[in-house]
Symmetry: C2
């Protein structure tokens, strides 16, 4: 595409929101407002759905103080969407862009959003329509390729780490077995964050199960027995997306066993969050099989649910800053020349944690996701290594300092 | 009892921990360490269970920095207990006190703990044994009598309010019906706190159900239909302890319908936390009965679980201060003369929120609990009034400031 010249902007948010997704929105809007090349800045309500419905909110004149409050607000301020646009849907988006003289398209989301942006961009390209398209990464799952990590992950990881820290003290005070189910359909990044506050080998989580490792209920039982026998208690982190040896989600297999309908989103992904079924199942399984008198065995399960991505007032400071910067960078790239792509973070080799921002190709971010590397998981497949801790600790920032008697 | 003179101290923690229960422990220990009348300060591991087992930790020489870290740590640092001591159990406690020359007994807990303290104290009194007994209140349920509110409640309320704020933005971004199950077996204080961050009439929670109001699934359905029809979404707060018209817990009735064994603690209370069953049940009920096409109805349920009492790093500042002060006051009362009792907070009539600490009788705090007053619940029984907000807002302190587009 040739130079896009002055034109209008559409910016939207997509997929499961994060605690800092609005930082990216505000970062982009700040830069765009200052550009002479930009006309109207149109925020799409509910992502692609808002684009095809031409449901836009004018972002040119939003007061700076309101923008700042929005930046600090969890969840997509423009509204989000689970729609996965096909070719025809993308064609409609492109038609709306032409009609509204849209020359810049920013889409904040995960890998599916990068893919939608890629398709629309290719349509524009094929029609010689001047469009600059930038994907701005966000996901608590941390499963995007190319980028070192994803904006949104650090805040969710901070929530999970803090939750495990307090819950570990709680379950040390009233000992038993405590299962905590953490978000993560295919990747164990967020569940791995459960260990980040651990400062003592006897502290929980004592066992961590991620979707990257085949889950066996028999091995689970043996693992729990070993820890419980040794410490008199056991705190466990489980990804909602753990899969059995056939690759089937344990939650889905369980639901089907119980004759429940499994809800799927438009991406074909089964609905795993917003239900306590997996935790209750694992809890019942242990109660039935631990061979400890029922009365003396305390088993509890919590499913952390949507709080992991939406809890207000507890985002990671570094995550806030980086998410804002990813939004700014996308706008700067789009203003700087004939460029499309996604924003990625690259960790600079240095003593201290340091990031540089680079442009990635949309096609390199779209579709395929990035699992937790095997060397971040221990050999037994039920714990997390120091390698992961070195990687993730800077993204979370300061954690509470706890004491013991 | 006459003047107790120099003697040893036993201090213990009991029941469900809170985010600030260790503030009370540290407050008491600070005062006791400075007293010439006090010999050994013995922390009982796991409450009354640790007393009868003579499982004590020496608190005289704990470093001040460690104490401060412990104060800021959620959950009982000494360990907690669910034992409800009967007469024989209390006799054993009393024997251990005599054997160890214990002249001061501090028990941090709820109404059941106050009752255990009362029984032991009466045994001592009947035997002309010099014992000063103080109960130090704690409970996230806020259901103790006499005191204006309970240490631990403000922090749990802050967590719940912040969770609802972020979750409301999340469920506005991806609209549907969102049910959040909040702790509270008999009293709706904590569930009521779900409204504290609400700054706009269209924000959630749109419906609040507490155990004080008879729960009807039919009325629930009608309420949700009305809100969903009007706003296109609905965020709902439900106490885990909601009861049907027969006074039976909906969770218990549900479990029994499904043929599950209902676990009960030694107080005879059914186990309601640590399971997602109520949320899943209400969610399935709405999906089956809303008469909206399945595909277009998004219903999710989260059960906040133990995070409400144990989440690390997010306690209410005023709650921290008051919990510390309650511990200090108990020690000061016990040192000041022939006194037993519980510490209570009294709200001073003034423009600003202000508290004075007073002594209450153990018998006035023991056993009976305090429900949410009817005038804190709206007429329809599905919402919370301004009266509650005025009462509870100062206990929670600052909440995040969110923005909208």
């Amino acid at each position: 595409m040739s130079d896009a010249g002055k034109g209008n902007v559409v910016i939207g948010q997509s997929g499961g929101p994060t605690a800092v997704i609005n930082q990216s929105l505000v970062g982009a809007v700040e830069v765009l407002k200052d550009s002479d090349d930009v006309g109207r800045i149109m925020g799409a309500r509910h992502g692609v759905a808002g684009i095809v419905a031409e449901n836009f909110v004018d972002l040119n004149d939003v007061d700076a103080a309101v923008l700042e409050a929005v930046a600090n607000t969890p969840a997509a301020a423009l509204g989000s969407s689970r729609d996965k646009p096909d070719e025809a849907y993308c064609r409609k988006i492109f038609e709306v862009f032409k009609k509204n003289d849209v020359k810049y398209f920013f889409y904040i989301g995960g890998n599916d959003s990068a893919d939608a942006a890629r398709i629309v961009n290719e349509m524009a390209s094929a029609s010689d329509y001047e469009l600059r398209t930038f994907h701005i990464p966000k996901t608590i799952d941390n499963d995007l390729r190319v980028t070192d990590h994803c904006p949104g992950y650090g805040s969710a990881a901070k929530f999970v780490a803090s939750a495990f820290m307090g819950d570990d003290r709680d379950s040390a005070a009233l000992p038993g077995i405590k299962i905590n189910v953490v978000m993560g359909r295919d990747a164990g990044w967020l569940t791995a964050a459960s260990v980040l506050g651990n400062t003592d080998p006897v502290d929980g989580p004592h066992l961590v199960y991620v979707p990257e490792v085949e889950f066996s209920t028999e091995q689970f039982l043996a693992d729990v027995r070993e820890i419980y026998g040794r410490l008199g208690r056991c705190q466990i982190a489980v990804s909602e997306g753990i899969k059995d040896k056939t690759g089937t989600s344990v939650t889905v297999a369980l639901a089907e066993t119980l004759g429940h309908r499994v809800e799927r989103d438009s991406h074909g992904n089964p609905q795993l969050s917003g239900t306590g079924a997996l935790g209750d199942f694992l809890s019942d399984y242990l109660k039935a099989n631990m061979k400890v008198p029922h009365e003396s065995l305390r088993v509890r399960a919590d499913t952390f649910g949507y709080l992991q991505r939406s809890f207000a007032g507890y985002a990671s400071q570094i995550d806030r800053i980086e998410a804002r910067q990813c939004g700014r960078k996308a706008a700067e790239y789009a203003m700087s020349g004939d460029l499309d792509g996604s924003v990625a973070m690259k960790r600079v080799e240095s003593a201290d944690y340091q990031i540089e921002y680079v442009r990635a190709e949309l096609s390199d971010v779209a579709r395929v996701t990035k699992p937790l590397p095997r060397d971040f998981i221990n050999e037994s497949g039920n714990g997390i290594t120091e390698g992961f801790i070195s990687y993730a600790a800077p993204l979370v920032g300061e954690l509470p300092v706890l004491g013991k008697l």
